[in-house]
C-alpha cells in the first residue's frame, strides 16, 4: 500500500494531505520508519542534534484555562508562582559557570494578568546583560500576541521591541491543533490557529526564527493532524522561518479532558509522518521530556534528527504526569544517540555545531 507513496518520497515529490492521512492509517510502521529515516538522512546525514539548554518558566499564573493544561494557576491559588528577574538570573548562573555552559535558555510561561510588557522586555534585557553569550529563545506566539494586546503595540512593534531587548529566537508552543472545532474544545480562550500562524509569520518577517509544535493524542483525529501539518508547511513555503517541527504527545494527568497517554507506536508514526510530509522543514525534534527517553531514542530511527537538550528543570509536562526525569546530562544524550546508530552533534540554537572544549 505504501509503494506508491514510497516512490513519491524517494523521487522527492511532495506528499498530498491524502497521502499523509494514509501514512497515519497504515499498519506498516517498518516501511514508514525506513522511508522517514531515508529522508532524514538525506537532510542531515547520520547526525542527531542535542543542545545544552535550560528551561525557565517565569510564572504559571495564566489568564487562559486550556483544558489540556495542568500547569496553569490563578493568582493566589495554591501552587501559583512568579519569578523575579533576579531569581531567573540566579537559576541560570550555575549553568553558565559550569565547565560545559548551557548555550540556550528556553523561556515560556503563563499569561500573567498584571505584568506589563516592560517586565518581559526587562527580563530579556536583564538576562542579556548578565550573560551576553547566552541565546535567549523565549515566548510562544500566544505570549507574543498577549504582549501586543497589553502594550497596545502592533505585532511588528512588539516583536521589534523583544528583538531589540535581546530575544534570539522563539519556541513553537501554543500551536496545539489548529482546527477551529477541536481547538475550541481544547482551549477556548487561547488565540485561534489562524492568529498563531499570523504571529509566527510576523516573527519570521522580523527575522526571528521559530519552531512549530503540534499537541496530539487527545481528542483530535488523524485528519486534524494532517490539516495542522498542511498549514505549517504552507507557512514555511512563504517564510522559511521555521527551524524544527516538534510533535508533542498529550499527557492526561491533572487535566480537564479525559484521555490516556499516547501509544509508543503512535508517537513513532507521528514523527515519521511529520518527517515525510514537512519536506520544507530541516529538523524534526523528538522532545524527550514528552516522548520519554526510550521513544525519543527510537524516533531517531523514525525520522527525527534532534532530541532537544539537557533541560535541567521541567514543569509543564511534569504537571500533567510526565514520566521522565527533568534533566539529562549531555553524556546521557550522547549515549542515547550513539546507541541509536546516529552521530551526536552538540548544536547551538541555529543548528550550528558547538565545538567541544
Amino acid at each position: 500500500m505504501l509503494k506508491r507513496i514510497g516512490e513519491k518520497i524517494l523521487t522527492g515529490k511532495r506528499l498530498t494531505e491524502r497521502d499523509a492521512l494514509r501514512l497515519f492509517e497504515t499498519d506498516d510502521i517498518f516501511s514508514l520508519g525506513m522511508l522517514a529515516s531515508a529522508v532524514a538522512e538525506k537532510k542531515n546525514g547520520k547526525k542527531a542534534y542535542f543542545i545544552r539548554n535550560r528551561h525557565i518558566n517565569p510564572t504559571n499564573i495564566c489568564v487562559n484555562r486550556c483544558r489540556f493544561c495542568a500547569f496553569s494557576r490563578s493568582r493566589g491559588q495554591d501552587g501559583a508562582f512568579t519569578l523575579t528577574i533576579e531569581e531567573i538570573i540566579n537559576k541560570l548562573r550555575p549553568q553558565i559557570h559550569a565547565s560545559h555552559p548551557i548555550s540556550e535558555v528556553h523561556i515560556v510561561g503563563g499569561l500573567h494578568p498584571d505584568w506589563p510588557f516592560d517586565y518581559y522586555l526587562d527580563m530579556i534585557s536583564g538576562i542579556r546583560k548578565q550573560f551576553p553569550k547566552l541565546h535567549i529563545k523565549a515566548f510562544t506566539a500566544v505570549e507574543v500576541d498577549y504582549m501586543s494586546r497589553i502594550s497596545g503595540l502592533n505585532l511588528r512593534e512588539t516583536l521589534a521591541a523583544l528583538k531589540k531587548s535581546g530575544l534570539g529566537s522563539m519556541p513553537g508552543g501554543g500551536a496545539e491543533i489548529f482546527d477551529p472545532a477541536v481547538r475550541n474544545r481544547l482551549c477556548p480562550e487561547k488565540i485561534s490557529g489562524r492568529r498563531w500562524l499570523e504571529v509566527t509569520a510576523a516573527a519570521h518577517k522580523a527575522g526571528i526564527r521559530t519552531n512549530a509544535t503540534m499537541l496530539y493524542g487527545h481528542i483530535e483525529k488523524y485528519e486534524h493532524r494532517v490539516d495542522h501539518l498542511f498549514r505549517l508547511r504552507k507557512l514555511q513555503d512563504e517564510t522559511g522561518g521555521f527551524q524544527a517541527f516538534i510533535p508533542l504527545a498529550y499527557h492526561p494527568k491533572n487535566t480537564r479532558i479525559r484521555g490516556r497517554y499516547t501509544s509508543g507506536i503512535d508517537d513513532l508514526k507521528t514523527i515519521a509522518v511529520s518527517r515525510l510530509f514537512l519536506d520544507n522543514f530541516d529538523h524534526i525534534k523528538a522532545y524527550w521530556i514528552m516522548l520519554g527517553e526510550k521513544i525519543s531514542q527510537l524516533a531517531l530511527r523514525f525520522g527525527a534528527d534532534d532530541i532537544d537538550g539537557t533541560i535541567i528543570e521541567e514543569k509543564i509536562t511534569h504537571s500533567a504526569g510526565g514520566l521522565t526525569a527533568e534533566q539529562l546530562t549531555a553524556d546521557q544524550l550522547i549515549h542515547m544517540i550513539r546507541k541509536a546508530g546516529r552521530v551526536p552533534v552538540e548544536r547551538d540554537s541555529f543548528y550550528r555545531r558547538v565545538r567541544a572544549k
Binding site: 517498518f30 529515516s37 509508543g264 508517537d267 526510550k294 521513544i295 531514542q297 527510537l298 514520566l323 541509536a340
Partner: protein, 353 residues
Amino acid sequence: MMKNADLLELGSRADELRKDLHPEGTVTFVVDRNINYTNICINRCRFCAFWREEDAPDAYLLDKGTLFSKIEETIALGGTQILIQGGLHPSLDIAYYVDLLQSIKQRFAINIHGFSPPEICYIADSADLTLRETLTILRGAGLDSVPGGGAEILSDRVREVVSPKKIRSSRWLAVMEQAHRLGMRTTATMMFGGIEEPDDIIEHLASIRDLQDRTGGFTAFIPWSFQPGNTELRKTLNVKSEKFGKGPQSAKLKTVDYPATAVEYLRVLALSRIYLDNIENIQASWVTQGLKLAQVSLRFGANDFGSTMIEENVVASAGCSYRVSKEDIVAAIKSSGFKAAQRDTYYRLLKKF
C-alpha cells in the same frame, strides 16, 4: 544479525514471525502477584539491589499471615498465579518450603509459580538431594511451575563477574530440564545490558533453544535489561572486569552506567523472536521498559505483556518502577492495535477485554 542487521529490518522480520505464530492478533497478560518471601541472600549478585545480610535492619522473612493476606488480595483482584521468589536464606531448609507450599495449597486454588533455579539448587544442596528429588518433593507439596529467573546470561565468563556465587549455566539448565521432565512448565529469562558481548547473548539463546528442542517445556522467553541503579555492578565493575578480558576497561564500565537503551532492547527482543523458533511466546517487559516501549515491543516480536505485577520489589529496588493497573495494561495493548486477553500460567485464554 545481532551485530549488523538494521533495527527496522529485524523488527519487521520478528513481526512477521509473531503474526505467523499468533495470527489472531491477541496480546495476553497474567494477573499475578510477585511475592518475595525474603530478601536475605547469601549470593549477593553484583547486579542486584534487593539482597540483604541476615542481620541488616531492613532484612525480612515474610510470616505466613502476611503471605496469606497477599494471596487473598491477589485472588480478589482476579489473580490466577503467584510468583514466589526470594533470596537464598541461610537458615531455611526444604521442610520450610514444603510447609509453605502445602499451607498455601490447603487454603487457596491458585497456581504457584515459584523458586527460580538458584533457589531450587540451594534447597537441593542444603538437603543433600538431587535436583530431581528436590523438584519431585516440591511438586508434591504444591509447586506448579518454575519461573525462569536467575538465568541472567547463560555464559559462565559473564556469570563469573556479575554473579560469582550464583549457579553456573549448566546447573540452571539442569534444573529446567529436570522440571520439564517431571512435566512442569517453566519460563526462561535473559538479563542483558550488563557486561556481556553479543556472543554471550547468542550462547544464551542457543542453550535455551537446544533445551527446548529436547523437552518442549518452556512456555515463554522473557528478555529484560539490567537496571544499574543501586547495584554493586555499577560501582565495582571497573575492577572486576579486569578479570573479564581484553579491551578498554573504561569503555566496559561506561556501558553499565546506563541501562540498555530502547534500540538495544528491541534488537535483542526481535532477535529472540527470530532465533527461538521453538518457543511460542515472547514477553515484553513493561516493568523495565515502560508501557510505551512495551507497546512498541508488540511490533518487534513480543506477543505477551507478562504480569500485571500487583507487587514488584526487586526491580523497584534498583530504582526502576513503572506502576500500572490492569486497566492501563488493557488500554495499552488495545491502543497498539491488538486485542487484549487475560491468560493463565499455561497461556490459556481466560477473559477477553
